[in-house]
Structures are given as structure tokens and as C-alpha cells.
């Protein structure tokens, strides 16, 4: 179960793996996520599914190395098995023919955006995709996105590839050129999603964001993933992960995401000293 079939780098600190999980591949709908444990003392972390192949019985995960588990995953090899893989979790994206849908993916956010975009494309929408990253090396899945977009716009913060600027500026330019947008879907770092919502709100374009709060069980049992939406406490795992971007308290989300910064560093330092930790690419590591 949960054998890693392929694993490799997409960019600095960004990895992709194809994992055998036929039941999850079959049940998964765009917008849903999984929770995994890498090893028997491991934590449970949520990751969105970047792609799936029902016939081969596989799902594709893409992640950025930020903490012990994501660095650990980066050291795994084809043939290794994940300790646990649970999913699909969360509500699927509401897919229908809206008209023109703009999908905006920042950095690693392109991975979860991919199946949603595909779903929107298949539902008959005119799909415009904006893919952005800090710099060229961090752009991921642009070819995959191209196949399922009627228009693909790429931007980098430093101008090393595509449009020089933020994804919000690209969105603004689409609005300014007079394209009627019926829905935005924005996934990426919290500041990016907040910035997108500020632009789309001004233009009165309904905007869906997919949130990534800290989770434990992922089935609504623990409440670790509390987010505030329209002033109400919601659970990211069972009420989300997608919410109306206009209503999300992004500031609270940022603070809650930082809750374990101290312990995370302790854990990472300890991992760095292990035999496996030496093999990984933690900055400052051996």
C-alpha cells in the first residue's frame, strides 16, 4: 500500500511524487486533499492532490520542503512506502459552467489548482490560468496547466520569466482589458490569496480560495483547522478547504499557521542530525 512509484524535483525545495493509491484515485474529486504520515513516528500532514490516474491507480502529490515531514518525504525513493495515506478529504470544488473562470496559482499553489482547473475546463468554462512564482526556477506545472487552459499567463516577481510582476497585477490587467470574469479561483501563499481577493473584490468578481490550515485528523473531529469565515468559526477540513475569499479572515489564518514555528525548528534540527536528515537539502544542513 501507498508505494512511491516515482519521485523527483520540480524545482528548488519543490518535489513531486506519484503514489499507488487506487481507492483514493477513484474517489478523489477536484479540490479534495489527503492526509499522510511518512513514518511510524510521523505527524499527520494535509497535502492537496495535484493529479490522479484512475486507470493506473495513482495520485500525484507536489509539496514544498518546509518542515520535518516535507523534508523527510524528499528523501524517500521509488519503492518506499508511506506509513499512512488517508483520503480523499474535504468537500470537492463546486464545478459548473460559470462562463469565464480565472484560476490563479502562486508557487506551490499551482498543484492543487491543477485538478480544479481541469474540472472547470471539462465543465465547459473558458479558462484563463495565471501561474506565478518568485522566480523562474520555482515555476511548476506550467505545461500541465497549458493543456487545460484557453489562455495561460505566467509571471515572476523578479521578471526572470514571463510577465514581470505579481499574479495580482496580471489579474488586474485581464480586468482592465475588459474581459468579463465570472469566477476566480486563487490558491497559493496566504498573502497572495489575500492580495487577489483585494483585486477581485474591487471588481466584484466572486472568488474562491483554498485554505491550508494546520490539521490533525482531517475529518472534523479535532478542530485544529479552525478558520473564521464571515465571522463564523469553520473547520477547514470538513467545511472547506474552499471558502468564499471575500469572507476569510486571512490575518487569523497567518497567525494560526505560525503556531508551531518554535517546535517545528526543534524538530527540523533534530531531523537534520539523523542519517536520513543528512541526505536532505535543509539549508545549513550537512
Amino acid at each position: 500500500m501507498f508505494e512511491i512509484l516515482e519521485i523527483g524535483r520540480l524545482g528548488p525545495g519543490v518535489n513531486r511524487a506519484v503514489i499507488s493509491a487506487p481507492d483514493i484515485a477513484r474517489a478523489h474529486r477536484p479540490g479534495q486533499f489527503i492526509i499522510l504520515r511518512a513514518h511510524e513516528n510521523g505527524e499527520r500532514i494535509p497535502l492537496t492532490v495535484a493529479d490522479k490516474d484512475v486507470d493506473k491507480g495513482t495520485i500525484t502529490l507536489v509539496w514544498q520542503e518546509v518542515g520535518t515531514t516535507t523534508y523527510y518525504l524528499g528523501t524517500m525513493c521509488p519503492g518506499d512506502r508511506l506509513q499512512d495515506l488517508c483520503g480523499p478529504l474535504g468537500k470537492p470544488t463546486h464545478l459548473e459552467k460559470f462562463g469565464t473562470v480565472v484560476g490563479i496559482g502562486g508557487g506551490i499553489g499551482v498543484a492543487p489548482l491543477h485538478p480544479i482547473t481541469k474540472g472547470m475546463y471539462d465543465a465547459g468554462n473558458h479558462v484563463i490560468s495565471i501561474v506565478g512564482a518568485r522566480t523562474e526556477g520555482l515555476l511548476i506545472m506550467t505545461d500541465d496547466m497549458k493543456k487545460i487552459s484557453h489562455e495561460l499567463l505566467i509571471s515572476t516577481d523578479d521578471g526572470s520569466f514571463g510577465i514581470h510582476g505579481f499574479v495580482t497585477q496580471v489579474l488586474q490587467s485581464i480586468i482592465d482589458r475588459g474581459t468579463k470574469i465570472d469566477l476566480c479561483v486563487a490558491i497559493g501563499p496566504v498573502p497572495m490569496m489575500r492580495a487577489v481577493v483585494n483585486v477581485s473584490r474591487a471588481a466584484n468578481i466572486p472568488t474562491v480560495v483554498s485554505l491550508n490550515p494546520i490539521m490533525v485528523d482531517g475529518t472534523g473531529m479535532c478542530g485544529a483547522c479552525r478558520v473564521e469565515v464571515a465571522g463564523k468559526t469553520m473547520f477547514g477540513c470538513v467545511d472547506g478547504p474552499e471558502f468564499n475569499g471575500f469572507d476569510v479572515d486571512f490575518d487569523l489564518l497567518m497567525k494560526r499557521l505560525a503556531m508551531y514555528k518554535g517546535p517545528e525548528l526543534i524538530s527540523l534540527n533534530k531531523f537534520r542530525d539523523t542519517e536520513r536528515g543528512c541526505k536532505c537539502t535543509i539549508p545549513g544542513g550537512a
Binding site: 481507492d23 483514493i24 474517489a27 479534495q32 504520515r37 513516528n41 510521523g42 505527524e43 499527520r44 520535518t68 515531514t69 506509513q83 499512512d84 495515506l85 488517508c86 483520503g87 480523499p88 478529504l89 490533525v216 485528523d217 475529518t219 472534523g220 473531529m221 479535532c222 478542530g223 485544529a224 479552525r226 478558520v227 473564521e228 468559526t233 470538513v238 487569523l252 497567525k255 494560526r256 505560525a258 503556531m259 508551531y260 517546535p263 517545528e264 526543534i266 524538530s267 533534530k270
Partner: protein
């Protein structure tokens, strides 16, 4: 010549169970109660009157043959005693530890009813016998009947589901238990702390069921990966039992409840118990190790949370409860243990707001002093506000005020009726729901209750299924 007086038989008092001393145990996760020795068990068993009309059995939700098993203890035949218990209760090592015997079997014991005396310590004897049998396991299992060809799917591996699985497999019915988490046992592994119920015991009890032929599937969220209807139609189960528990924590609905450092008891206990955050960083999952910890609530879960906080190193662990000690729903033994370990109680105190700092962390609780008014629907005197407020400084706050019904299964199952709280509507005697071939039991039906009531519900549902299947 004076008539020789018959020497009066010395009266044996109720035997205490040895436990770790309070100062030491408040800083470790080892089990608090250490269990009877052989001698203590024999002495305690000798107190049982072996009543012809055993009232004690009436108090047991799973109707264990109490006088018979105690009689076997008296005779020193502990293995038979264990099997006697297991006829009715598949999980005696667990029940012997977490059952509120003082309000069930022991409350009805004749020894205690005579006024002065204390009841026979049935729960401690059950625990002793079941532990002994596990240690002296000879690998013998009761012969299982021929498979009936029927199969049942069980959603949730908590006490209700495990009990049902045990009862059905012994009647030749194939059982598969689906569990959302990566470990089996439900609340027994994520909720109840190691120091009250060692996880090795839960694992051993689950292994026992596995040896009998029960299949288990972890990481399987029914309602997400497949529905109850899929289990019935695609997987062709003859029946499905839903025992998903009361899995949706309630919050206080006061300002500041989403600050960092504010946990639901479910999350706090899950991090510590299931994810072993107490052994961080050997285990990867972190937990806020608060210096001053406040727990809201007066039930067993609140006691578990406050005592866990102490063991994680809190300088001060406080319970804030809006009524008085007399109204607390927790077992008196748990309250007593918490007090001994140094948990501080703030009665007649209700939280108004959780105060935070700029970084988004909780720093204190603004509370209001309460007074007791007339009894409410629950029969407990209603707390009324006085207007007098104060602030309790704390860095961690744990909300242990109960659980609502988890929506995942009800919202994905056709024709399954729920009540206004989202609990599944089921006959309390049979577990039968409004949906054909579907039974339910435990907290998902009753709202948060006890392990043994869930076990009782699992047992009743199993008997109802057997009757429906025509299997005796």
C-alpha cells in the same frame, strides 16, 4: 456453663487498588492505577455474597455474569473467570479501567446497599481477571461456528464498533471494521490518556478480535472514500453498523476562541495520545506545552485534559467550571485523582472572553463569577451571572464542553434520519435506524456518553442483527 460465643468472622473491608503516588505520577504518563495483586483480588472476591438475585448485573449495560465470574475468582480459576466475562464483554481490560462502576454494577451491590458497607469492587476484579488472562494467554480460543456467509460492515473502530464486531464474529458472521484514523480504537486511542488506559491494552484487545477473524481497514473515511450506500450496494454487506462517535468538538462561541494556544479537548488529547506529542521531538507532532493551562468543563474529558497538561509540564493546571463540584459530570474518582495531582478548581466561574496578544496567542481568560439558581432541564442547578468579573492568566486554554455529531456519515447517507443536533435517530433497544439494513449506536446516536454505554449499544445492535439474520 456459659454458652460459648461463636467467634465473629472478621469483616473484610473493600480492598483499595494500589496506585502510583500523586506527586510522581503527575509528571509521567504511566498508568495511575496499578491493579490488584493476586492476594488482594482473592480477598476482595471473598466479600461477594453471590446473591441469588444479583442486582449488580442489572446495573451492567452489557449484562456481565458478575456473581459467576467473581465466584471463579474465589476458586482461583482466573482463566474461566475471564472467559465468563468475555461471553458478554469483548473488551474487559478496557471496561475494567474506564467504566463508571460506582454508578452501575457497584451502585446496586447488596454490600453497599445495607447502609454502612461498601460495595464489592467489581470493576477492579474485572480488570484483574482480564489482565491476568491476557498475561497467561494459552492461545486457546473458543471454537468459532461455521461461517454463515453473511457479512457486516462497521463504520468506526471505537468501543461500539469493536463490541459489535466481537459479538458477530463469534456467531460466524464476517466483519470488516473501517476506521478513519491510522490507529484502531477510536476514542480509546485518541481520547482517553495513556495514564488511564494504556494504548498497548487497546492494541491487544484489537489483536484479539483480529485473531478471531475480524478484518480492519484503517485510513478509510466512510462518507468520503465511499458511502454507507456503497457498502450496502457495491460491497454487498448484509448490514452496516454506524459507530462514528461524537466527533465534532463544540467551542465556547466567545471572543478569542481561535487564538493560538486555544484547543478543543479533542485536539489536545489527540495530539498527546494518538500522535504521542508528549514524546516530541522523538515523535514529530508538537503540542503547546503551557506554563499556565486553563481547561473549561466539568466532565471526564476536562479531567483528562487538565491532568495531561500537568504531565506535559504545566506549572499550573486549572479547571474552570460554571457550576459547583456537586454538579460536575466527571467520575468522582477522576476528580479525586485530579485534585491529588494538584489540578486547581475554579467553580462558579464562566469564561467571557479569551484575551490575546499581538502575535495571536492567548494570555488570559476574562471570567464572570456565577451563582446557582433553579434546576434546569438536566436537573442540575442553573448557573446565573453575577456581573463580577476577573482575569485568570494563562497561555493555553482547552475547551472541554462536549461534542456535537460529526456530519460526514449522515450527510452522505440517503434516507438516514438525524435529530436536530445531527445525531442519528436509532432505536435505543436495537440500534435500528430509519434506513433499511443500517444500525447505529454509541455517541453518534446518544451524544457524548461513556465507553460502556457505547459497548452496550454495540452489543444490542449485534443481538438485533443476529435476530434479523435468524442466527442464534
Amino acid at each position: 456453663m456459659t454458652e460459648e460465643q461463636k467467634p465473629k468472622k472478621p469483616k473484610v473491608p473493600r480492598q483499595k487498588m494500589p496506585e502510583q503516588n500523586a506527586i510522581e505520577r503527575a509528571h509521567n504518563f504511566y498508568e495511575v492505577a496499578l491493579g490488584y495483586t493476586n492476594d488482594l483480588a482473592l480477598l476482595e472476591a471473598s466479600r461477594c455474597l453471590h446473591c441469588k438475585k444479583p442486582f449488580c448485573m442489572k446495573g451492567c449495560p452489557v449484562e456481565v455474569d458478575i456473581p459467576d465470574f467473581v465466584e471463579m475468582v474465589k476458586a482461583g480459576d482466573l482463566m474461566s473467570a475471564a472467559w465468563k466475562i468475555k461471553e458478554k464483554n469483548s473488551l474487559p481490560r478496557i471496561a475494567g479501567r474506564v467504566c463508571p462502576q460506582e454508578t452501575q454494577c457497584e451502585a446496586l451491590c447488596v454490600l453497599g446497599k445495607k447502609g454502612k458497607g461498601e460495595p464489592c469492587a467489581i470493576g477492579r476484579l474485572e480488570r484483574f481477571v482480564a489482565d491476568w488472562a491476557a498475561e497467561h494467554d494459552e492461545g486457546k480460543r473458543p471454537a468459532l461456528p461455521k461461517p454463515t456467509g453473511m457479512k457486516v460492515g462497521v463504520v468506526g473502530s471505537g468501543p461500539a464498533g469493536l463490541t459489535l464486531a466481537g459479538a458477530l464474529i463469534k456467531k460466524g458472521i464476517a466483519v470488516t471494521v473501517y476506521e478513519a484514523l491510522h490507529e484502531l480504537g477510536g476514542v480509546l486511542v485518541y481520547g482517553i490518556p495513556e495514564f488511564r488506559l494504556p494504548k498497548a491494552i487497546v492494541r491487544a484487545e484489537v489483536d484479539e478480535l483480529r485473531k478471531l477473524g475480524v478484518e480492519f481497514k484503517t485510513n478509510w473515511v466512510v462518507g468520503q472514500i465511499e458511502t454507507v450506500d456503497d457498502l450496502l450496494e457495491k460491497k454487498k454487506y448484509d448490514a452496516v453498523f454506524i459507530g462514528t462517535g461524537a466527533g465534532a468538538p463544540l467551542f465556547l462561541r466567545i471572543p478569542g476562541e481561535n487564538l493560538n494556544g486555544v484547543y478543543s479537548a479533542n485536539e489536545f488529547l489527540t495530539r498527546s495520545n494518538l500522535m504521542k506529542a508528549y514524546a516530541f521531538p522523538e515523535h514529530d507532532t508538537p503540542i503547546a506545552k503551557g506554563r499556565r493551562v486553563v481547561t473549561f468543563g466539568g466532565g471526564n474529558v476536562a479531567m483528562d485534559s487538565a491532568r495531561t497538561a500537568l504531565r506535559l509540564g504545566a506549572e499550573k493546571s486549572m479547571i474552570v467550571y460554571r457550576r459547583t463540584k456537586a454538579e460536575m459530570p466527571a467520575r468522582s474518582e477522576e476528580v479525586h485523582h485530579a485534585e491529588e495531582e494538584g489540578v486547581e478548581f475554579h467553580f462558579l466561574t464562566a469564561p467571557l472572553e479569551i484575551l490575546g496578544n499581538d502575535a495571536g496567542w492567548s494570555v488570559g481568560i476574562k471570567c464572570e463569577k456565577m451563582q446557582l439558581g433553579e434546576p434546569d432541564q438536566s436537573g442540575r442547578r442553573r448557573p446565573l451571572p453575577t456581573g463580577e468579573t476577573s482575569v485568570i492568566e494563562c497561555d493555553t486554554a482547552i475547551v472541554a464542553i462536549g461534542n456535537g455529531a460529526n456530519p460526514l456519515v449522515p450527510r452522505t447517507t440517503k434516507n438516514l434520519e438525524t435529530n436536530k443536533w445531527g445525531n442519528i435517530v436509532a432505536d435505543l433497544e436495537t440500534g435500528k435506524t430509519t434506513k433499511d439494513r443500517v444500525w447505529a449506536g454509541g455517541d453518534i446516536v446518544t451524544g457524548a456518553a461513556t465507553v460502556i454505554l457505547a459497548m452496550g449499544a454495540g452489543r444490542k445492535a449485534a443481538l438485533s442483527m443476529l435476530q434479523k439474520f435468524g442466527v442464534s
